[in-house]
Amino acid sequence: MPGKLKVKIVAGRHLPVMDRASDLTDAFVEVKFGNTTFKTDVYPKSLNPQWNSEWFKFEVDDEELQDEPLQITVLDHDTYSANDAIGKVYIDIDPLLYSEAATVISGWFPIYDTIHGIRGEINVVVKVDLFNDLNRFRQSSCGVKFFCTTSIPKCYRAVVIHGFVEELVVNEDPEYQWIDRIRTPRASNEARQRLISLMSGELQRKIGLKVLEMRGNAVVGYLQCFDLEGESGLVVRAIGTACTLDKLSSTSAFLPACNSPSKEMKEIPFNEDPNPNTHSSGPSTPLKNQTYSFSPSKSYSRQSSSSDTDLSLTPKTGMGSGSAGKEGGPFKALLRQQTQSALEQREFPFFTLTSFPPGFLVHVGGVVSARSVKLLDRIHNPDEPETRDAWWAEIRQEIKSHAKALGCHAVVGYSESTSICEEVCILSASGTAAVLNPRFLQDGTMEGCLDQRLSWQPGFFSIGSEKGEVDFFPQSQDSSSLLGIEETSPAGCGFCHIPYDELNMPFPAHLTYCYNCRKQKVPDVLFTTIDLPVEAMVIGKGCLIQARLCRLKKKAQAEANATVISNLLPFMEYEVHTQLMNKLKLRGMNALFGLRIQISVGENMLVGLASATGVYLTALPTPGGIQIAGKTPNDGTYEQHISHMQKKINDTIAKNKEIYEINPPEIPEEIIGSPIPEPRQRSKLLRSQSESSDEVTELDLSHGKKDAFVLEIDDTDAMEDVHSLLTDAPPPPGFYSCNTEIMPGINNWTPEIQMFTSVRVSRLSNITLTNQMLNKNFNDLCENLLKSLYFKLRSMIPCCLCHVNFTVALPEDELIQVAVTAVAITFDKNQALQTSKVPAEKSLQRASTDNEEQLQFPLELCSDPLASQPFSPAKEVLESASSHTGIPAAQRVASLDKASPLAEGHARHRSVPCSTNSTVTVVKMTPLSFIPGAKITKYLGIINMFFIRETTSLREEGGVSGFLHAFIAEVFAMVRAHVAALGGNAVVSYIMKQCVFMENPNKNQAQCLVNREGPTEEESTDTCKGRKECETGDGETEVRRD
């Protein structure tokens, strides 16, 4: 019996009127945990009851503590009839279970009802006394920390990154149980909400157990998803990366570590050149590896209608170590083997993280993805997870082999998703194949040195990158020596170098020598699902690039339907890829980060939406233009038309280059003549082979420059494509957008942020739809949505939309729903100009200047604009208004020495719950892992919420828009209330996972009405039942110090 949960109900306010006669309410509260229920007294005739209850005590197992939510129900006492429910509050007590997180939950919670929305608020205090229980057979995993952030959370340090953890829980969906026919919608919704809350608790506990097994203490990049399968059940599944994290207790703790280079040096022999592919190559024309499998029966026979992958081409065994042994010295082989073995122990060498400590990523191969179409009604044992487990295992296996084909032993930025329509389900997984540095992956004996290893950065980055103007060459030398990575190439380009064997490329691609170090081969473009690595060198700014695509599909049933879908998938992937490539070139860029392709299935169409952030990497060749070639010559007007188009395209490219400040150095010829001095002699020796191929470099380069992308216009389709290319309007001046955490080229964020969710549902006119029209409509929908966002946020100019996350769904025939969640962050324009000019002169700019913000651990100290006044602590409380950012590095470093920032933060945080009575705590939210202008002092735990809202009076609520608008506002409010109650003042890594909106026009009835009398058509909408479910935001909470 290892825990005692104590709950006190203090008061209520703004309760709804439940008794029409007196215009008052006789409210009381039921507090339920597990199977135990307590009640408060009835507080008669008040809309602001003061219960001031005793402490209700629940004695429970810690397993229960993890699984169960605390349920608080507010009711109106009725002497003669049944008591009426006013609403409920679910409180996840998980945050109270870590030793270092919150100790008490106390505050005002909105009382939520699935039919009426928020109805007043209730003040609750919750505490947990945990008894130490050393039972080794325990089923709970209290104490394992969960982070949704896809990078190592700030104020922690990764000791070991253990690897992939996944779990899946299935249950019958209450909405599809027989009992649902006789119970009220409210009861049904509440059953569902409770079940999902339970399931996610259980899931989290089980993942926690796995982490403990791996000897980790935290899950980073935790991604939880719901599959509402309908008849066959409700699936909650999660993936994450198990890590061992160490809390950075104070700033001084890591300072000595970074000042002791001697220790680091000892490490050097170990990690010789983690960059062994002097020779090997193969471009990562990104989307190369997909397989489409469809397995109608339970036997997983794969009808692989693979588009462009042929796995058999790639050597299956030991490709990595083989090539290393061939070219590298013994050190390299050793390294390879180490890595290999470290990773091969694992079933799936996957990492859900998208940004890593510098040096972690050695090479990036390209995007790997796999999709598979399944039939849900063919699951033999729908209540058991085995079938789904097997499905996912199959997909993961495929991803793993794709990665191998690219010469990579790991997949980073890994994610999984589903799209369900009736009984057809598309499972998708994608990630970025990569070669990792083994030092971060080993546990056991290596831990000791990893400690040291991971603590070097503050010294280096705070000096170098903060200024943003330090020439990158000396800097990177610094970095490599500090890192102990004895790379021949500067750290800024290493990850671009191809990991695969040039002679044995998995697909045809165009390789050149790296534009940065000239030593190794790089592909002409690079697509990845990860964030821009901190060490990457970038020119200009990045931009959001989207490919949008619709495909009509015949309505079909079951197997036939699945076959149709799996036949369509490869074409969609191909087209999405082509669009991305064209748009990338049109912007004069050469790499995509954060690529996310979503393919949704509906009754009669498939929709594909790919979003990514395009950047210009200095290491990759300048992209060629786009050339248009007509197929029917000898036609004057046609030729003229073509040349007109060509001119338009060229103009657009030129304009884009200007907008995004892409002005790569125009001096390749000279530089080639005088190769960059090798930083170390030793490395020179090691790369004897590469030198022999120097001549090829020049050839390749010249080729690369002239190479242009040719678009053939042979029919109207292609014509449309070109047109659509040109319709993408750039964001208005003063705006930038990206779907990654940070924007390359902007490094002076000011503290104003605005997170938002925008949803649009569009009805396609049902006159004979064609693919072309669909595409245009969908494209317009997305473009207009973006335009609206820019207009809405115009008061924030100059600002950048970060982490722009589009999700598309096809809720019904002819309906397309697009939801966007993003955060707008303002930045200082003057500063931006300054910094962008400086690098422009030097022709190069480090992405790390701003990336550094989101680096894990100690770094955030230096990036904190607060540090701008390190010598006037008194001012700090008033800080948020201050907008000075670009501070000399020296001053920033000084702030590291400041002794008591943490203490201050704690003191303030204590006072927060007390002051909630007077005003509502302002809670900032962001999908990013950081908040500009603020420092995360403490993570309070994960907030995982699921809401269902239903209405029977859609018209009174302002139609579907009014309904959804109010609901999303309510969801935000509830998340904020929970955070404030935990004593936090911000949410980071907010995700809205799923937003299902169903409108039941109750077809029979509606049609009936319409048919009977024309003019009452309006009334038929009134009988509509709008309904929406939304699983939202798990984000970590944090305490911010302003």
Binding site: V761, S788, F791, M925, G958
Partner: protein, 362 residues
């Protein structure tokens, strides 16, 4: 392709000032869109090139209107706005929203001043709307605001302005205006007569302030219900005592000679004053004596204009002369030995003087 649903929800609730005003002014979404188009909203930086003709604006306006609509419930009880959790709005923005919501059009309130805030009055708002050119929607909102404030403070103890400020979080000036509106609505002063048309809401508000300060129960005792809303009945009763000033011929002559001596050579309209003195004095004192009758009380302002302002205007008294006259007229009464109601006289005359000076213009 039509948008069935189109929403934008920010963690911090965004409300465009301009759209909020259009909403308050009672324009429909399409009217608001065309107004914004005319105002050049699309030329603003965020609009970008090729923003669809009004589509972006339409969506934006609709969205703001929805937010405003949801906020309206809270604006009805402003202190709730600070405690509610649904909309995260910085406190200074909250104050702005409240202030703008409770702001009113002076031409509109001028029409309504002194009328009973009843359903009947509300029904007639379309006439007011037609007359003032303010949309009916906006008229209704303003009317409801008056009524809401009236209901809330009607039965409360303590100073009227403070109560309004506390319950509606309004800035000082606006709270004073509301106090005036409540005061007028409660006492039902006649303001609609043609003779009074030249007076603005500001004039009446200033008068109301003087009346509240000196003639209500609150002026003598600050712990009674309705202290600022109802006039001090006892005081009105006592005012009858002033009759002696005009009824007693000696007293009247004495009073006249005192004033004339003091003002000789000091005002430009001396002769007119001298001939008119008895009429003016009779007018003022008679007003005082009749205030116990509800009907006459309501006609207070009409009487002031008829009995005093109009004769002065006819003789083209400059305002400075009027000020001098009223000061002397009030002060000289103290020198009358037979007159014993000095305090009463001062309480009456000081307020009347202030009102007359406020009302004496074209």
């Amino acid at each position: 392709m039509t948008n069935d649903l189109d929403i934008f929800v920010g963690n911090t609730t965004l409300i465009d000032e301009e759209v909020y005003q259009l909403w308050l002014d009672g324009y429909s979404v399409s009217e608001a869109v065309s107004q914004r188009l005319r105002a050049g909203a699309l030329e603003q930086p965020g609009a970008g090139p090729g923003a669809g003709p009004g589509a972006v604006l339409h969506s934006d306006t609709l969205d703001h209107y929805r937010t405003c609509h949801m906020l309206e419930r809270l604006l009805h009880a402003p202190p709730k706005l600070a405690h509610q959790l649904l909309f995260q709005i910085p406190p200074e923005r909250q104050a702005g929203l409240i202030q703008r919501y409770y702001a009113f059009d002076e031409p509109f309130v001028r029409e309504l001043l002194g009328k009973k805030l009843s359903k009947g009055t509300k029904k007639d708002l379309d006439d007011v709307s037609a007359k003032t050119g303010i949309t009916l929607k906006s008229c209704r909102r303003q009317f409801d605001n008056f009524k809401r404030v009236f209901k809330a403070v009607e039965e409360l103890r303590g100073p009227l302005v403070d109560n309004i400020q506390q319950h509606f979080l309004l800035p000082d000036r606006l709270a004073r205006d509301y106090a005036a509106i409540v005061f007028f609505a409660n006492s039902r002063f006649e303001t609609g007569k043609k003779k009074l048309q030249y007076l603005s809401f500001r004039d009446f508000a200033a008068c109301a302030q003087h009346l509240i300060q000196h003639w209500t129960l609150g002026a003598v005792d600050s712990h009674v219900d309705d202290m600022d809303v109802d006039l001090d009945k006892e005081f009105l009763q006592e005012l009858k005592e002033l009759k002696v000033l005009v009824a007693d011929k000696d007293l009247l002559d004495q009073h006249k000679s005192l004033v004339c001596t003091a003002l000789r050579g000091k005002i430009s309209v001396y002769n007119e004053m001298e001939t008119n003195f008895k009429n003016l004095s009779r007018g003022l004192v008679n007003i005082a004596c009749k205030l116990t009758h509800a009907k006459d009380l309501r006609d207070f302002f009409v009487d002031l204009v008829e009995k005093f302002i109009e004769p002065c205007k006819a003789d083209r008294w400059p305002p400075s002369d009027m000020r001098l006259f009223l000061t002397q007229y009030t002060g000289s009464a103290h020198a009358l030995d037979a007159f014993r109601h000095q305090a009463l006289w001062d309480r009456y005359m000081n307020t009347v003087t202030a009102c007359l000076l406020q009302m004496y213009h074209d």
